[in-house]
Each structure stands twice: as structure tokens, then as C-alpha cells.
């Protein structure tokens, strides 16, 4: 029989859920709540680690290339100008202490440097990812390719998402003729195969000189024809959101249409936007890689997509050549998807834990 005496004391210890509720009641900051939710999600954290690692890699390699260029200009470079020589010894000593400086082992060299006598080498101690048919070190290619691969995916996706969001929001909010026009334009864009359309446009504008090289043209036109999907999703989201009472309440407070659209309704569409961006970055990297494969990329640029496509017919003979760029594209996609999913769940205050 239960009496005051024999009730187990641990029944009175608050469980984790209650503690969390109390924390919420105390008005914990939104981002700390989001962070706590992501931390709980193991796959989300894995995604975050991968994404962070890749972004760091892209950033560091970009800094190194800039440094190399600057040192070359300043005439401060010694040894082989094609190596990131000034930094070589640093790496060598950091990674492999005791190797003589007269015969340095190069961990990273300039991605376009060709070792004339080290062609098609399988992964080894000196070239951890092997070398390609031009004698370029695959590890360096992959490392320095991160900048362009991620930046292209990110910039391309962000421009389409921004255009799609603005157009989709306005069409969804006002409806009527604006919405009709938008829908017809999207149907027009989607009635043509995107990929063929891209190639057609790139060929059409091949001779145009744009600051930023060929990929600038690719990104601009990708943004111009690729916004439809985002616009449709945001539009349908707005259709249901604009009927909500808080929109009317906001109007009664004297808020302008633009304020209601972008400050009040749009944040409610954050979840689909995050999914579009995260999935889209991976998709855009793929698209640009495919374009490069068909000769519509920029051969002078180092990126995973260009490398993957350059060596994909070597898969059986020299698997390391296409494999490592492909592996990094795979991890990019995986990382962004895992993290995006987790962030979506965490950002939605309507989902209670």
C-alpha cells in the first residue's frame, strides 16, 4: 500500500521533458531552443559536422590560393613557383616531422601543377588520393576544388531562391491576374527541358564577356530560368498563410502589404525555404557539373564537377580519379540534406518537443 513513506523519491525528480518546459517558460532565446533541438538530433549533427567541415575546407583553400597569388606577385615565393612553396615546408613539418627539406613531401600543391613523372599513380603516402592523367595531385584538386564547387552551388541556388521567393510571395499574396501571369510564365519555363534550355542559352551567349568568367553567365541564366519551383512552393504556402487571422490582425494594426508579406508571412514559410536551399545546393552542384561535362563549364576552373566529369570514363581503370571528387559531392549532398532536415524541424515553433 502506498503511503507517504514508501513512495519512491525519484518520482519527484522532474523528467527531462518537464525541465525543458520550464526552460521554455523562462523565455529561452529562440536560437538556443533551435540549437538544443538540433543537438538532440544525431543525424542533424552529423550533417552539421560535414557541412562545417566542407565550408571550412572551402574557406581555407580559398585563403591559401589568395595567399599564393599575393606572394607570387610580391616576389616572395621561393622554389618551384607552381607549388604553394612558401607553405610547403610548414605542412611537411607539421604532418611529417623529420623529412629533409631538400626533398619535401608535398601535401598540398597548386591544383594545376602537373608532376610530369607521376601520372596516373594510385593513392600512396605521397599522393593520398593518387594523381590523375595529367600528373595532378588529386588531394590538391579536391581540396582546392571545394571553393568553386560550394560557391557555385550556393550562389546559384541563392539567386534562384531569392527571385522565386519574391515572385512567389507577391503572386501568392495578391492572387488574381498577377498570379495568373506568374503561373503561365512558370509553365512556359517548365515546358522546355531545363538542361537543354541552359545549354541553348549558354551557346547563344558564348561570346559574351562577363566579369567572373563563363560560370557567371551560367549562374545568371540558371537563376533566370530556375526560380519556378521555389516560386510555386512559396506561392502555395502563401495561399494558405494569407487566410490566417494574424494577417488580418496585422492589417488592422496598420501594417503595409509589403511588411505583411515579407516580415510576417514569409518567416512562416521558412521551413520549405530551408529545404529548397539545402536540397537545391546539392542539385545545383550536380547541374553545373553536368554542364561542365558537356563542355559548357569553364575548363580553367578547378571544381569537383569538372574533375568528376573529366575522369568518369576512367572509373574501371583508375577508380581514384573520378571517385574522390564524386565522394566529396556525395558528402556535400548528404551533409546539406541531413542538416537541412534537422534545421527545418528545429526552426518550426509549431512543433513542440
Amino acid at each position: 500500500m502506498a503511503t507517504i513513506e514508501n513512495i519512491e523519491t525519484d518520482e519527484f525528480i522532474l523528467d527531462e521533458k518537464t525541465l525543458r518546459e520550464i526552460e521554455t517558460m523562462k523565455g529561452a532565446n529562440q536560437w538556443s531552443i533551435v540549437w538544443r533541438r538540433i543537438k538532440k538530433d544525431k543525424m542533424g549533427m552529423l550533417g552539421l559536422y560535414i557541412v562545417t567541415f566542407l565550408i571550412l575546407m572551402a574557406f581555407v583553400s580559398w585563403i591559401l590560393l589568395q595567399l599564393d597569388e599575393w606572394l607570387t606577385h610580391a616576389g616572395l615565393l621561393y622554389g618551384d613557383p607552381n607549388l604553394i612553396s612558401s607553405l610547403n615546408n610548414l605542412y611537411v613539418e607539421l604532418w611529417i616531422p623529420g623529412v629533409s627539406k631538400s626533398n619535401p613531401i608535398v601535401l598540398f600543391n597548386h591544383p594545376t601543377y602537373q608532376f610530369a613523372d607521376q601520372v596516373k599513380l594510385p593513392p600512396s603516402f605521397i599522393h593520398p588520393f593518387g594523381t590523375d592523367a595529367n600528373g595532378q595531385d588529386m588531394l590538391s584538386r579536391v581540396f582546392f576544388g571545394a571553393t568553386n564547387s560550394l560557391a557555385l552551388g550556393f550562389i546559384g541556388q541563392m539567386t534562384t531562391v531569392i527571385i522565386g521567393t519574391v515572385l512567389g510571395s507577391i503572386a501568392g499574396f495578391y492572387g488574381g491576374i498577377i498570379d495568373d501571369i506568374l503561373q503561365r510564365v512558370i509553365e512556359l519555363l517548365y515546358s522546355m527541358p531545363q538542361f537543354i534550355l541552359m545549354i541553348f542559352i549558354i551557346v547563344l551567349f558564348e561570346d559574351i564577356q562577363v566579369p567572373g568568367g563563363k560560370y557567371a553567365v551560367v549562374v545568371i541564366f540558371f537563376a533566370l530560368i530556375g526560380w519556378g519551383g521555389t516560386a510555386l512552393i512559396i506561392r502555395s504556402n502563401f495561399f494558405s498563410l494569407k487566410e490566417q487571422d494574424f494577417v488580418e490582425a496585422e492589417r488592422a494594426l496598420g501594417a503595409s502589404d509589403m511588411r505583411i508579406i515579407f516580415k510576417h508571412i514569409l518567416p512562416n514559410s521558412l521551413a520549405p525555404l530551408i529545404i529548397i536551399v539545402t536540397l537545391g545546393i546539392a542539385g545545383t552542384i550536380f547541374l553545373f557539373a553536368a554542364l561542365a561535362f558537356f563542355g559548357f563549364g569553364d575548363a580553367t576552373i578547378v571544381s569537383w564537377g569538372d574533375d568528376l566529369n573529366k575522369w568518369q570514363d576512367q572509373l574501371l581503370e583508375y577508380p581514384w580519379m573520378p571517385m574522390f571528387p564524386a565522394l566529396f559531392i556525395f558528402f556535400t549532398v548528404l551533409g546539406f540534406n541531413l542538416f537541412g532536415d534537422s534545421l527545418r524541424d528545429a526552426l518550426d515553433p509549431r512543433l513542440k518537443d
Binding site: A252, P267, N268
Partner: protein, 351 residues
């Protein structure tokens, strides 16, 4: 009981709002004339679909367009017709001089912002204050409307509040700019009875404190009796009776008002059947001709009520009725048909 015209804060004349839908034109408001005096509470009562909320939205000029459109009428506030103001001038009045609270506090707050952010925004839309000052002011208003430990609750999201507390937040938002007129669209309908009483009490107290007029929209005659100084009874897009609360409850003139009052159970009365108004509110795409109440009216005068729309008749000072029983045409009709009706006679069920 009528007050001098210079005490009028808001005057609505001949307001007409239609909705142009695919099924046809919904004639939601045909002709509404109301005046709201300074620091009074005016009740707007009627069945669902009688146009109460649309009247409120028309005053603020936020009838959803499309499909809605205010076609005619004047909304005179401080001597200017709100219908002819530009969009940006109108926005300065909304929320600032005329505020509104809505029926459902569960959905009237934006779920992705903290309540503090939302109250602060209401303040910052109309006053040049810093974010910090706005937040301090939000906390002050939140404690004023009776939200406990407001300085902590200000950073909470709407889902962390109960229904009654959310309605308090809505009231705090509405009060944040010291409005002269508050339109409360069924503020207590979705709350349970005890919370209802608290919210109404709060509205009453704040209206006195802020010297604010209220248009209280409800279909609950009990709420009207509790809260209002005057009451306007709406039916199918018309105001059918408007007058002092005491007069209307004591001796309603319009048959519809009588029906409404007869349908309230009274604990002090002897046990007897409640009266009902037969039929249902008409489809406003094809409303009944002339007086829209005539198919349901016990005093229906054939050949008159369905042909000529009764004018507004001031049966006594400050008491307007729109019904043929009290009109010249009605008298002529009754004489012709040999019927006599005592003006203001209260049906048995009401007493």
C-alpha cells in the same frame, strides 16, 4: 438620452459592402448607419452572417479585396471620411487611432514571433521609439492587461500562452498606441465562460482608463447587457434597431429584437417556452426583397414589407427602428386591412 452631435467620434452613413464571388454577389451590407460617441461602448449584435464583422472590417478599410468591396457610404472619423483617405494615411489610423481585436486569439497571433516582438511592432509602426523602449512599453502594457510576470513572458511564443492569455496579448497590442476607438470582434466567443468574464471585465476597465470608445461585436445578448451603453441590432446587412441599452432591453420595438431577447433563458422568469425566430438567416446572394426580415417576421404586412424598404424611424430620442410597424406606410396598411397595432407593445414572452 441622445448626446450632442459634437460628441460623436465615428459616424457611419449608408455603408454598403458587397462580396463578388463566383456563385454571385453576396450583398453582405446593404445600408448601415451608426454613430459612436466618445468613450461609450456600443454593442453590435446579430446572428452569424448578419454583417457585423464585415461592418468592422469596412470601418478599417480591410475588407478582403477581392472578393469584397465597399461600394458606398461614409465612415466619418474626426471630420474626415476614412473611405477617401490614401492607403498610407489609412495605415496611420489603423492600430493607432482605431484598433481591432479578433475573435480567435489562437490564430490571430503570428506563431513564429514572440509576443513581445509583436506588441513592440505594433508600437513601432506608429511611434518613433527604439526597439528597447518599445519592448519596455510592451512589458508595461502586458502587465496592465493582467499578464503575470510580464517581463519574462514577453519573450515567449504564442503557443506558450493559453487562450485567455493570448486574448490579453491581443488586447495589449490593440491598446499599445492608445486608440480612441477599439473594435472588438467577438472577443470572448472562443473562450470559456470564466475567462470570458475576465476578458470582458478587462475591456471595461481599460476602456474607462484609456477613455476609449468600444464597438463590441457579439451575438451574446448577455454580454451586451453587461458591457454596453447603447446597442445596434443588425440583421442581414441592415441595422434594424439602435438605441440605449435600457430602452432596448425593456421595450424592444423591432420584431427581430423581440425575437432575440425572447430567446434568452431567464433564471428569474417562470418556466415557459423560449420564443424562437422561425426560419434561418437568408442567403445574401438572393436576399428577400425590401425588408430582409419579412419572411421570418410575425408582423409581416403583405404587399408592403416585401415591396418597400422601411426607412429609419426615430421612435423616441436616440432610438431608431427600421420597421414598417412604425412607419406612415405601415399605418396606412393597417388601416386598410383593419388591423391595429399598439406601438411598442412587448410580446408576452419577453415581459
Amino acid at each position: 438620452m441622445s448626446r450632442p452631435p459634437e460628441d460623436i467620434l465615428l459616424e457611419i452613413k449608408g455603408l454598403k459592402t458587397y462580396f463578388f464571388t463566383e456563385e454571385g454577389v453576396v450583398k453582405a451590407i446593404e445600408s448601415v448607419d451608426i454613430e459612436v460617441y466618445k468613450s461609450e461602448t456600443l454593442g453590435l449584435v446579430g446572428e452569424s452572417g448578419s454583417g457585423k464583422s464585415v461592418t468592422a472590417l469596412s470601418i478599417l478599410g480591410i475588407v478582403p479585396d477581392p472578393p469584397g468591396k465597399v461600394l458606398d457610404g461614409q465612415v466619418v472619423f474626426h471630420g474626415q471620411d476614412l473611405r477617401h483617405l490614401s492607403d498610407s494615411d489609412m495605415r496611420k489610423i489603423r492600430g493607432n487611432q482605431i484598433a481591432m481585436i479578433f475573435q480567435d486569439p489562437m490564430t490571430s497571433l503570428n506563431p513564429v514571433f514572440t509576443v513581445g516582438d509583436q506588441i513592440s511592432e505594433a508600437i513601432m509602426l506608429h511611434q518613433k521609439v527604439s526597439k528597447k523602449e518599445a519592448k519596455e512599453k510592451s512589458i508595461k502594457i502586458m502587465s496592465l492587461v493582467g499578464i503575470p510576470s510580464a517581463d519574462e513572458r514577453v519573450d515567449n511564443y504564442p503557443f506558450e500562452f493559453s487562450g485567455g492569455m493570448r486574448q490579453r496579448v491581443m488586447i495589449a497590442m490593440a491598446l499599445s498606441c492608445n486608440p480612441e476607438l477599439l473594435i472588438a470582434d467577438e472577443p470572448s466567443t472562443s473562450l470559456d465562460v470564466t475567462i470570458q468574464a475576465q476578458i470582458l471585465e478587462l475591456l471595461k476597465a481599460t476602456s474607462e482608463e484609456f477613455d476609449m470608445s468600444i464597438i463590441l461585436i457579439t451575438h451574446d445578448m448577455g454580454v451586451i447587457a453587461e458591457m454596453c451603453d447603447r446597442v445596434a441590432v443588425m440583421y442581414a446587412g441592415y441595422i434594424c434597431e439602435l438605441g440605449d441599452i435600457m430602452i432596448i432591453f425593456k421595450s424592444p420595438f423591432h420584431p427581430y429584437t423581440r425575437g432575440l431577447l425572447g430567446a434568452i433563458p431567464r433564471p428569474d422568469a417562470e418556466r415557459e417556452d423560449l420564443t424562437i425566430i422561425r426560419g434561418a438567416i437568408p442567403n445574401l446572394i438572393n436576399p428577400p426583397s425590401a425588408c430582409r426580415f419579412h419572411p421570418r417576421c410575425d408582423y409581416y404586412m403583405q404587399g408592403l414589407c416585401d415591396v418597400i424598404l422601411p426607412a429609419i424611424i426615430e421612435v423616441e430620442p436616440g432610438h431608431d427602428v427600421r420597421c414598417h410597424i412604425y412607419s406612415e406606410e405601415g399605418k396606412a396598411w393597417m388601416q386598410k386591412h383593419g388591423q391595429k397595432r399598439e406601438i411598442g407593445k412587448v410580446p408576452k414572452a419577453i415581459k
